[in-house]
Symmetry: C4
């Protein structure tokens, strides 16, 4: 028995808001003062007060989190884990069903398109992980519109073009890639796969596509950069911290480690409310709480807003400062109307991503592809179309979606959730196949539209009248997308309540 | 045994249309002559002829009703309640199921938006109360359109605006409030909660929002005013009586008791037909009646129209008279086209509410938000936009809906049913949470749209093309709203009929 | 035993195409030569060859049919019915279920609108009768559009109009009626009710509305006219016979019997294919036939076309002749575009009915209400709007529908199927209630729209933009209408086939 | 025992990729070198390596396939079939269910329209055959749009036209036919019926309609031509081979055998991905394979593209060469925008088929009928409408569809799948009835629209506004079409997996 180590009993004494210790990977930490600042709320920590939180902690925090964000004085040292009481796992029938479904999972070769991965992931992922990945703002109208908007655009293909040789390679921010999509930044990769974002790094390498590294990754930034091979291109997605010194450090480090583009997220001054996610967390954390006002966490809205992780005061005035601290191309991620694109050009930005954050922020925000239709003519009118690269993300599921965006003038498109789903269900093989399917579709569809290179894609190949009528029309529905969608639910009645 | 009191047996003799006595709160009343005038029809009274009607009477009549509307000569005095025969309650399986559902009700914290309260209320409210609150005119197309119309309007948010500090306070009719919505007038609050409208008064105080007091409240007007605290602001919603002296008395009393605005309902010269409500009442009252013509209450349509409570002859000619009897600002509630808004300005009104009465009156009337789009440009064209305050009600469920109305030029929006549902399911705590959720959403969404004050909300933040195509389009549906909606039903076959 | 009477055995010998006798009401008829001319096809007669056909014959033929259409030489005289073999009724589980449903039928007072009658009728009518009444052409798209088109039109009501007194009476072709709808002509009333069309005559009288008598009534023309009371107004709907002498006789007789209007059907040069009806008949007649080509009645299409009942050669050239044989106002029923309305004015017609025959003839023909929108401006442009009365039928279910048609310029609307459904389910009481519901709705809705007389209805009270986008939009759906609709079915597999 | 014949054991030794022999109709073939070229992929052949493949081979290959495409040196001679091991058939519950359904099939006379055949075929066809016929590209949006687009076009019929005599005959490429549709080319007819395409030849003769012979027929070209009778007209559909000598031979042979038109397919430089078909094949071939990357046939996309059967390099430059090798009229099949139609005129083509290959190639390609609306005005503007014949195929199910296409300017329409379904379910009788139904509908609908000849069909008979709004609208749905549609499915979980 070690003399220096803390005992489980000692830690267990600190099990309340007033004194809260937790164990992570065999070490104890005093998080009492940190509780109100925790971006995920204090409640989830308090559930593990005085206990071992490793299993819950791991998938949603990079390994360097505690070192970075918790003062050394709060690191209480090693715990003799043999003295820590083991919690008996309660039998969870939902989890048992999930384990059965995992065993019955379709073979990877049965996935023929990106929506298939979503349909499989929905059934094999942990409920809370699924809820975090799949949820959107409010009624998820924008989230669904992102995909649907592509169906409002139809092709006007050309025939009798020699399409024997197809070249779908292009460049983004000056770097070459094999096909005009990139892996966009998505948070908390370890919720879906124990290795987290490095799985995406490896798949991106295999297919010669660019990866955008998220600020809120589960892996540490360095782990993700370390996983790259050769001249593989990576970009950095940035949430701007209230403390600009921290931000400067992050940017400088990324540039030093070879990142080739800085994507500043501008559509999230406050993280959105995602009710599917909240409901999933609620039933997790709140299952044994009584009804009543006292359980309503009033501060949560505000807490999210003043989180030091994301500065709601970020504004156009900050752009020159970013110019001054890095030579990486600067791209604004989350621009949503033509006025702001023009302003970005004037501010000297190198690019914009027309994006609504995957429908996770402002509800009834328009899809990126629709904004693109209003943006490009305004740029061309001013002769500015070469001064800025325009990207689109949100809802891309088919190579036809990619081609539509490029015909309209986008330089490339970002794809996020589909790769998370492929990774969650099938790991690296899944992401690999997802990318290969896109390439197969892309080659075929360029042939069918009568274009042999990316440069030949142009607006005359499209009929975009369907986008002109605002949003009151209904688009032709796809049964796959409808089947994969997980509809929101009203509060559930507890049918096992004692009567 | 009291000598002065009436016996149950005596009262029970008067159990027909020819002589009809009822007991309410231990006193007997002769309502024979009143039968044809009863706004709810005579049938429902006759069901209690010669009996104790207290339980049925209470939720739908203010306590001062009998004093006000029944001549003193018809007040027959106290009844010795020990002599009144107790009706044995018939076991009602639907009611038993409801009692189970009440015990299984989700905790309040599981409600994340205003539609969640509706979904819960639908299952825990009494069937007739639910039918009264939730029903609309004819096919309920307008009722549903009210909510759906907001989905036809999409955002054009601005990014990189410093949104650290959000101020969502505003003024309505000169009075301050914390957020630009008010609690609009809805009838018969005690159907949902034993305390009735005062619950809303208390919640309004907690959140510093304005309450509009309904003419047809279950609480008496004075009870509702008595419940206000400090400088809390209340308005009066007015149905104009055929006898203008009664109306003048009501208005003068309201002004004296401190009401700050007079909202004259102009969209209800006759109360609408709400079939869901009628069907629910029918099965209640008419369950043991035989099929056949004799049960068709021919007079009902007319009865409703000539009810002295609401004067169908009310017209523009009456407005000067209202001006002459009160100094309260005068607002016309229920205006539905631009022509009438312009006429209201010319008549010197202080405001209008663009409203279709929650879809309970004229079917296929347009939503208030759509009318707003035709109203504001006409006002601005004439430079009249400061001469009148324009409000909108109907279908508001999310803070995005509020923001859309304000961007288009509304001064504020009214919210009715959602607070009734929150109150019916969870009481004051429910209404409190509903209002807090709106505030949380409002703060977040103002950040996400890039506006820090109400003044900054303007039409360039919206894409309203979806409203231009008339009404033949379909809007993106929300699964919550669809799930909460209680569809109309065809007449039910009696599957237990003797064969 | 009568000596003069035929025996059942004798009749039974004539049981084939080569010699086909049938018994109707105790008399035998030789219909061998008539077989190919029978508008309903020969197969249905052959089913009763050599047998008593009374039960099948009655509901679909006026009592004077055999006298009128079968030469006296084919009337074989009385049959000794005691010698006719009684067919044992096979137990039909569907029919047994229907009998149960009839016993469980909701009381009449539970019907609150016209669609409720349809929902009840669907469950209590005989399958073949329901199929005949409810079916439409091809995919029934036009049939459903007729109702849906009204939902594309929304109100712009006026408030603060003195609406105490509502007068909804009007005139049609110079005759007064209490409300601007008439009972339009529909065939085979006895399928729904043993008394047939005279039920409608009586109800029309009770409500002071006009009835149009159908050529293909189950009652004889004279029976229907005999049933009218006092100055009740009736019109004649006319299918024009190839033999104009027959037509002239019919018209002259109608005028003599007091008909006030001649409605010539122009949208049915050939009766439409109604697959729901065909399928219902097929399973009736063809249940024991084997699969294979021989059962395909090739001649049926042609047979229908050359039926002498309806002359496909009827053309504009015939109009002057009609003018010459009657002083009744002449109205063309079934006009479907503005060009033909203008031509009708030039041809001196007194009216047109914009109608697609209840969606029973040409599929994807436009609704009458939509055609009205193109017709009235063209008439007004030429100053012809007083030279012709324009009527609309198809899909009218609510008084709001009637008001919309009148605002757009129609003189009145025809209502058909709803009264058949009311009659089939509840007899005269049903039709009476249906009409009363329309009147109650009409009075209320005129109040709510702010109009006190029919003359005040005008286009500024409507928003018709929803009609402008062609037919690709979806209209707000009504759950009642959707619930009442009986969708078409693919051929049914015989799950009881011997395997 | 024959001395010359190969033994089953000998053949069975060659059961791998390295040496692969198969038996077809009692003869052995060495297909080792052919494996990578097989258009259907190597996997399906390998399943039969060393075994008798006749049953699988027959329905998808014309009898002359092996002679034509496999070098004589690979023909190994006869096999002594008595020495070939018989595979025991595994009991397949799906197949057993299908056999039951075949016995319960509705009689042919119960099919009243073309969709009815599809509904029956779906339940009685082999799963893989159904999947091949019914599948479309990606989400099958274009496939469904093809049918739906006709519902966006509505009629403006004329009344009081003498329509006693209807003549619906016309000419196509100078040859007469009885009705303006032709049987378009569809591959692999023996999947649906053992006699394959000759069934269609016979039905076409019976109805005097033209048949287009597919390159990928299951019958050999000569078998199909041999089946024609008298002056029956046939056309040739052509996939252009990389080796133009082969193509020249095919064209010369077709002209010699009397083909009257050459339809060059231009919308399939690469065969489309049809996931329903792929999934059906997968479960067939891959049922016992393990999950994992190794099963992903990477080469498949490319393989399809470089298949020598179809030359992706085919271009406008080749048209003069076609002109030089044949005197048959040249028609481009699969043109999809007005620009290419004008180019076809300039290139001297005799016709175009506006087609998206039945929705099997490019997803969200527009329907032929919609392209027609943009094509004809451009031709008329240039006075070119007589220089080229314009055909449309895709989604035609009703005679109203045919009439709409002809009103808009098409010379005729092609119909494919419906006849395959009719043939698969009912053989020649089925196709015969399908054609007769179209004729019956056509005669009736020409009457109802007021046109007596094909020449009288013109754009003023239509309302095409529904096509103008792009593709965001929803069309009125037909319950038959919806019921017949087989929606795509996500990958299936194996619920019988060992747990």
């Amino acid at each position: 028995m070690s003399q220096d180590k803390l005992t489980g009993a000692k830690v267990a004494e600190h099990n309340s808001k007033d004194s809260c210790w937790v164990i992570v990977h065999g070490k104890a930490y005093d998080v009492t003062e940190f509780l109100p600042e925790h971006p995920g709320g204090s409640k989830i920590i308090l559930k593990y007060a005085g206990k071992d939180a490793t299993e819950e902690f791991d998938p949603i925090h990079p390994p360097d989190t505690l070192d970075k964000f918790l003062d050394q004085s709060k690191h209480l040292g090693e715990v003799d884990m043999s003295t820590v009481e083991q919690e008996e796992k309660v039998f969870d029938p939902e989890e048992a069903d999930r384990q059965v479904r995992i065993k019955q999972m379709p073979p990877l070769a049965a996935c023929y398109n990106l929506m298939d991965f979503e349909a499989v992931a929905r059934r094999v992922m942990k409920k809370t992980a699924w809820a975090y990945y799949s949820s959107g703002a409010d009624d998820e109208i924008t989230m669904r519109e992102n995909h649907a908007a592509f169906h409002k655009i139809w092709f006007r293909p050309r025939v009798l073009v020699d399409v024997e040789h197809i070249d779908m390679s292009t460049t983004m921010l000056g770097d070459k890639c094999s096909i005009p999509f990139y892996v966009t930044a998505t948070a908390l990769g370890k919720l879906g796969h124990p290795e987290g974002e490095v799985v995406l790094t490896k798949a991106a390498k295999q297919h010669d596509v660019i990866q955008m590294i998220p600020t809120l990754a589960s892996c540490s930034f360095d782990e993700i950069v370390d996983a790259k091979q050769g001249d593989q291109v990576q970009w950095l997605q940035l949430y701007v911290n209230k403390d600009r010194a921290i931000t400067e450090k992050i940017v400088a480090h990324a540039e030093k480690r070879g990142c080739k583009g800085l994507f500043i997220t501008v559509d999230a001054p406050q993280l959105g409310r995602r009710e599917k996610d909240m409901r999933s967390k609620f039933s997790d954390v709140g299952s044994d709480v009584q009804s009543g006002e006292s359980n309503v966490d009033r501060s949560q809205g505000a807490a999210r807003a003043i989180s030091s992780f994301i500065d709601p005061a970020l504004s156009w005035k900050d752009i020159p400062w970013f110019r001054s601290i890095t030579r990486m191309p600067i791209v604004l991620k989350g621009v949503q109307c033509v006025e702001d694109v023009l302003r970005a050009v004037e501010a000297g930005c190198d690019g914009v991503v027309l994006s609504n954050h995957g429908g996770r922020q402002l509800e009834t925000a328009r899809s990126g592809i629709e904004v693109l239709v209003e943006v490009m003519p305004a740029l061309r009118e001013r002769g500015w179309e070469k001064r800025i690269e325009v990207y689109v993300d949100g809802g891309v599921r088919r190579s036809t979606d990619i081609i539509k965006a490029l015909c309209l003038g986008a330089k490339g498109v970002g794809i996020g959730r589909p790769f998370l789903y492929a990774m969650s269900a099938y790991g690296l093989d899944g992401v690999d196949r997802a990318m290969q399917l896109l390439k197969d579709e892309m080659e075929m569809n360029m042939r069918l539209i009568g274009a042999t290179t990316i440069e030949e894609l142009n607006p005359s190949l499209l009929d975009t009248r369907g986008l002109m009528g605002g949003h009151s029309g209904v688009i032709p529905s796809d049964t796959l997308g409808l089947g994969a969608y997980d509809p929101l639910e009203a509060p559930r009645f507890n049918e096992k309540a004692k009567l």
